[in-house]
């Protein structure tokens, strides 16, 4: 992994200290990351989920998106669906894809950890 990706993972572990963070190198300097047991709100069943994403080898210049949730996740009022949400395959597993591209991503400020927090907030706001 590139030093920038390693630092991004360290920051995630620091900001989400109570959550198990699974990391797998993707072979070119980037990493596949899964942060477990994140609270995504009472409107979901269950109210927690893992969130996965890829940090590319050109991080922090490259945006971190999309994010992925467990395909088995449901909303209390039905399926998890709508704009920015779709079913797909990631890392050989069925997942819900959360597409939140940051058009104003700033490599000097934005990080994989802050992006994860924003995605978590967005999911809670749905």
């Amino acid at each position: 992994m590139t030093p920038e990706v390693q630092r991004a993972i360290e920051e995630i572990q620091r900001i989400f200290p109570k959550h198990n963070v699974e990391v797998e190198a993707e072979g070119q300097g980037g990493a596949y990351v899964i942060v477990n047991d994140l609270l995504i709100g009472e409107r979901y069943l269950p109210s927690t989920s893992w969130i996965g994403f890829t940090i590319s080898y050109q991080y922090p210049y490259a945006d971190v998106y999309p994010h992925y949730l467990d395909a088995g996740l449901r909303r209390v009022d039905g399926l998890v669906q709508g704009a920015g949400l779709s079913m797909t395959v990631w890392q050989n597993r069925q997942v819900i894809q959360v597409s939140r591209r940051s058009n104003r991503w700033n490599a000097a400020i934005d990080t994989a950890a802050t992006k994860l927090s924003k995605v978590q907030l967005w999911l809670r706001s749905l």
Binding site: P3, A25, G27, Q28, G29, S56, Y57, A108
Partner: protein, 487 residues
């Protein structure tokens, strides 16, 4: 350390230093330069990142042994900063005179007293001293492996200037082939071009034009980088490519396995470019590199060039190009042409060509600051085809885009003329090399006002930026490594 040793500085920092050293009082003034370093088989370059001006009477005071000296406090402060930032420490002062300069015996004695300790403080430096006259510079560079003289200094701006310790002897033999060039920029200008090493990223429509023109201009050494092979549809645009290169007879055979074979046997674009360059200038030194600039080993082939042309389409190549320009203080130009076509109606939109000079300083045309490297596009380009398909982001990239040689000419022509004018010093002092866009359907050319972000990771002075850090910073490249698991 490999010789010759060169110091590179951008025009903005040089102006700051020059105004401080030569305010018109004919007195001696001092400063310190913090510099990155790049060592290659072609020599060593010290890359000026910051200039610290020593205030007269406060930081630069009457010396106990020489006329003036930097105070111990100032030296400690700046050398500590250099150690922390992993930069080289270079003390600067000026002498009288104009075209020739050298250190005094007092200067040399002070180096011998101080620099061994300073090498320790800065964790191996290098450290050293520079002495300037109005049009000359000499340097005494100390490393843990020895002591070296500065060969010359390069000032990078709209015109690229060099300063030497004393006027150089020029070769009296001029090549009569370049007689018409010499009538414009002199035998000296032709000699400058013949000593240049120039990188070209992308040898498609635009890059192949640049390649031929540089070769005919008499550039001495070209490093051409492209991983692609010639295709049938490239033939109307790639200079010098023929049907044999594209394996047309196999591609058009109508037999799938022969078509596949044709694609595998087609010539690499860089090999066609080398053939064209050698025809234009048989004595040219040519490195035809089949590879991707996104890979670190390939990108590093450009770190000792004098200029880089970017004629490739991807955002990843823009990212690496922009990083090399700023990290190694190598000026460059990105070129491109765009023919937007509306998906449903197939109507042609605003056709434009772009010529974007990128000089290694704030407001120098940084592609990040001009928002020309979208982070979302970068992320998509790092994905494999399967990952892209899974993410449902398969957009137009597999659909062939319109491309016409005359549009490539428009952007490439301005780029090569900029290059020629910069190195032969023919641009008027007021010239600013701004990004230029030409809108073909309106027959209109506009210049884009330069932009800079104060926290840019490439062009700014922020302590996180890569500007002028040379070998001691990582390029944003793909790493080749065995996948491993970890928690």
């Amino acid at each position: 350390m490999k010789e010759p040793v060169e110091l590179r500085i951008d025009a903005t920092l040089f102006e700051k230093l020059e105004n401080h050293l030569f305010p018109g009082d004919r007195d001696e003034h001092g400063a310190v330069i913090a510099a990155g370093i790049v060592e290659t088989p072609r020599g060593t370059r010290l890359l000026v990142r910051e200039v610290f001006l020593a205030r007269d009477g406060i930081d630069y005071v009457p010396g106990q042994r020489g006329y003036r000296a930097l105070t111990a406090r100032f030296v400690a402060e700046i050398s500590g900063y250099c150690a922390k930032e992993n930069l080289c420490y270079l003390a600067v002062h000026c002498h009288g005179g104009k075209d020739e300069v050298s250190f005094s015996s007092d200067d040399i004695a002070s180096h011998e007293r101080g620099y061994p300790a300073l090498l320790d403080i800065t964790c191996g430096g290098p450290v050293g001293a520079l002495v300037f006259a109005k049009n000359a510079v000499a340097g005494d560079i100390w490393t843990t492996s020895g002591r070296y003289k500065l060969d010359h200094m390069t000032i990078i701006g709209a015109n690229i200037r060099k300063l030497y310790p004393s006027p150089r002897m020029r070769s009296p033999i001029a090549n009569p082939m370049y007689d018409r060039h010499s009538r414009m920029f002199g035998d000296v200008g032709q000699e400058i071009l013949s000593n240049l090493k120039v990188g070209i990223i992308g040898l498609g429509g635009g890059g192949s034009l640049i390649n031929e023109w540089l070769s005919r201009l008499g550039v001495g050494h070209i490093v051409a980088i492209d991983f692609d092979r010639v295709e049938l549809t490239n033939l109307p645009r790639i200079v010098g490519a023929n049907h044999w290169d594209a394996m047309t007879w196999l591609i058009k055979s109508g037999i799938p396995w022969l078509e596949k074979l044709g694609k595998r046997l087609a010539a690499y674009k860089v090999h066609v470019a080398r053939r064209v360059a050698k025809q234009a200038n048989p004595s040219i030194r040519y490195d035809a590199i089949v590879g991707n600039i996104v890979d670190e080993l390939i990108a590093k082939l450009l770190v000792d060039t004098d200029f880089i042309f970017l004629a490739a389409d991807s955002m990843q190549s823009r990212l690496v190009f922009n990083a090399i320009v700023h990290q190694y203080l190598i000026p460059g130009i990105q070129i491109g042409a765009k023919v937007p076509v509306e998906k449903q109606t197939k109507q042609v939109g605003d056709i434009f060509t772009a010529t974007r000079p990128v000089l290694p300083y704030a407001y120098g045309g940084c592609l990040h600051c001009h928002e020309l490297i979208p982070p979302g596009r970068l992320q998509q380009e790092t994905l494999s085809e399967t990952e892209r398909r899974n993410q449902q982001y398969v957009e137009d990239e597999n659909i062939a885009q319109p491309s016409v040689i005359t549009l490539n000419v428009k952007s490439a022509e301005q780029a090569v003329n900029d290059f020629k004018m910069m190195f032969t010093g023919l641009y008027k002092p007021e010239v600013q090399l701004q990004h230029q866009l030409h809108f073909a359907r309106e027959r209109k050319t506009i210049e884009v006002k330069p932009r800079a972000n104060s926290n840019c990771l490439d062009c700014s002075d922020s302590n996180r930026s890569r500007r002028a850090r040379g070998d001691r910073f990582r390029l944003p490249c793909r790493m080749l490594e065995a996948p491993s698991n970890g928690k």
